[in-house]
């Protein structure tokens, strides 16, 4: 357990909203090993994106981040802006959901790529351009010289997302965070981008966090999965264990709500109700859980080891 690339402990993100403080993320802990791709899954509002932003130091103004997150032993939470600027783009990088919005429409791709290198590496222009071209090839943009001269609107959606991935990986970061990188893309392009993230791991980045609401995406590329609901962790497990031996009622409810090719006649079982505002008391899923126990609304479920590397946060999982 000593060679953890990222260790997150008791992470909390509290957003100041008009209706009072909102605990978007609450006592979240997980760790990431070298070469691992961890999927973070959850519905809208489950705190996935806020987790990513907290790690990047990009939470909105007026929010409070507590707890700790260490990248190779170095604390990320509560660092001054200058220290974060040295880390971001160099050792930790992020790919955003919508590549159209994540690229500056008024700057050529080449300028946006070399800007990162100028920031973090003391490269002269020729060397920076060379590195950027090389990186564009690595993400599968073969006509990279033309790409460098293009404006974002001259590229297709898939090409744009390749560019943002190239941009994030220019400095070979230790940790890559991808926040729903395929949501804005076509299904066929989606598969290519996911394949790319898999292929580049190890050579271009150390470990990755893939944030998604798509369990299919998780099954395809991730090694381990963290299921979140209402800002809290529900279950952490290897991909196989989660899909075949999912323990938490929420995980099983999510899986039941997916269409299955092998059992088309079984139909879909939706989860009743809507995600509510996290109250902080008890299990956030208790209002919608079909296996609710008495203590669920009052007591926060403890962390329980089901199997090695398989954690569940549910009163049902407790040994009777």
């Amino acid at each position: 357990m000593s060679a953890e690339l990222l260790e997150v402990d008791d992470l909390g993100v509290c957003l100041a909203t008009a209706a009072g403080d909102l605990h978007a993320v609450d006592s979240l802990g997980f760790s990431l090993r070298e070469g691992e791709l961890l999927g973070i899954v959850g519905e809208s509002g489950s705190g996935k994106t806020q987790t990513a932003l907290a790690l990047m130091g990009l939470t909105p103004a007026g929010s409070r981040v507590s707890g700790s997150a260490r990248l190779d032993g170095q604390e990320l939470i509560g660092q001054p802006e200058a220290a974060l600027n040295d880390l971001r783009g160099d050792r930790i990088a992020m790919v955003f959901q919508d590549p159209q919005a994540a690229l500056n429409p008024y700057l050529r791709i080449g300028v946006q790529l070399t800007e990162v290198l100028e920031q973090h590496r003391d490269l002269d222009t020729a060397a920076a351009v060379g590195r950027a071209v090389e990186m564009l090839r690595a993400v599968g943009l073969d006509d990279s010289e033309r790409c460098m001269r293009s404006f974002p609107h001259q590229l297709s959606g898939g090409m744009r997302q390749r560019v943002t991935i190239a941009m994030a990986l220019l400095c070979r970061p230790r940790l890559l965070i991808a926040d729903e990188p395929t949501t804005a893309l076509d299904v066929t392009v989606q598969a290519q981008i996911l394949g790319l993230l898999r292929v580049l791991k190890g050579t271009h980045y150390g470990a990755g966090l893939l944030i998604t609401h798509d369990l299919g995406v998780v099954a395809e590329v991730c090694d381990r999965v963290l299921v979140m609901y209402g800002g809290r962790p529900m279950e952490v497990a290897d991909v196989d264990a989660l899909f075949h031996r999912g323990h938490h009622p929420y995980t099983r409810a999510l899986l039941r709500s997916l269409p299955r090719l092998d059992r088309p006649e079984s139909g879909l079982v939706p989860i009743p109700g809507q995600p509510g505002r996290p109250t902080g008391a008890g299990c956030p899923f208790n209002t919608r859980c079909v296996e609710r126990l008495e203590q669920c609304a009052a007591v926060v479920p403890p962390k329980l080891d089901i199997a090695p590397g398989h954690l569940s946060f549910c009163h049902r999982s407790a040994p009777a």
């Binding site: 103004a61 600027n85 783009g89 992020m94 690229l103 500056n104 429409p105 700057l107 800007e115 990162v116």
Partner: protein, 297 residues
């Protein structure tokens, strides 16, 4: 409207240069564009055509009307100086003031507004309240005070007029910055470790240039007008240098005996201001059309 908008959008996004789409908007825009070019060319090179110098007194022709034979195509003023040369040289100063003062107001306004908007919070509050306070000051009074204090220096006039007109620019730029700083590409730049100053310079400011350019194009005629007003009050450029405002001022005094002294500089001033305003307005419409279509696409 939509048909016109479409051709505009096509002009802006196709391979052809955007200015072609801009000038294709209407004949009025094209006419004003050519007229302004003609005035600029005349003002720049016209004085070379005449044998007279700016301050050369022609004792034979004092306060004479326009005449081809005497070589005083616009006539002479009551000191016997050639009005053609003086009108065009005055135009040089007027246009220069318009452009330079706008540049000064752009420089101050854009940096000030972008910093206030991007910093946000208390910094923004303090900076914008200062703008409010300056807004409340009588602006002409300030220019006059500056001119009296520092003497009539041409360079100072650029700075004085520009430095007082940056307030609008600062407000516009701050508003744009507020809406731009929450765009995802700004977050993306932050996520790549780009520091705040570089984000403002390379990502925020270029993205609002369309709005700033429109405002600047409408500010140029405004600056020319301010300079004319100052010159009319006798606080503008120093003799023998002149400007359209000063010529109009002198001409107005001799309106009855020598109407050409008012007519020529006043027409140049009016036509130039009209063209600049039409072009600025067309630029705004072009920009709005292209912007809304781009947003809808």
């Amino acid at each position: 409207m939509s048909a016109a908008g479409h051709s505009v959008a096509a002009g802006a996004t196709s391979a052809g240069p955007a200015w072609r789409g801009f000038f294709a908007q209407s004949r009025g825009v094209r006419v004003c564009g050519y007229l302004l070019l003609a005035i600029a060319a005349l003002v720049l090179f016209g004085p070379l055509l005449s044998p007279f110098a700016l301050d050369q007194v022609d004792w034979q022709h004092i306060a004479q009307g326009p005449s081809w034979s005497s070589g005083h195509w616009f006539g002479t003023d009551n000191n016997g100086r050639d009005l053609f040369v003086r009108t065009l040289r005055g135009g040089q100063i007027s246009l220069l003031v318009g452009i330079c003062a706008t540049a000064v107001s752009l420089l101050i306004g854009v940096s000030y507004g972008a910093i206030a908007g991007y910093a946000g919070g208390r910094v923004d509050q303090v900076m914008m309240r200062l703008v409010d306070v300056l807004y409340a000051m009588p602006f002409m009074f300030f220019v006059i005070l500056l001119m009296v204090l520092f003497g009539r220096n041409l360079l100072l006039m650029f700075v004085a007029i520009g430095a007082i007109n940056w307030l609008d620019m600062a407000r516009i730029v701050r508003g744009q910055t507020l809406s731009l700083k929450h765009r995802e590409f700004v977050d993306a730049a932050r996520a790549l470790g780009v520091p705040a100053a570089a984000i403002v310079r390379r990502h925020i400011v270029p993205n609002m240039m369309n709005v700033v350019v429109v405002y600047a194009s409408l500010a140029v005629p405004q600056m020319i007008l301010v300079e004319s007003f100052l010159s009319f009050l006798g606080l503008g450029v120093q003799e023998p240098m002149t400007s359209w405002g000063q010529l109009v001022s002198l001409g107005a005094r001799e309106m009855e005996s020598a109407p050409w002294m008012l007519l020529f500089p006043a027409s140049f001033l009016a036509v130039t201001l009209y063209c600049l305003n039409v072009l600025g307005d067309a630029l705004r419409r072009y920009n709005d059309g292209a912007g809304s279509l781009r947003g809808a696409a």
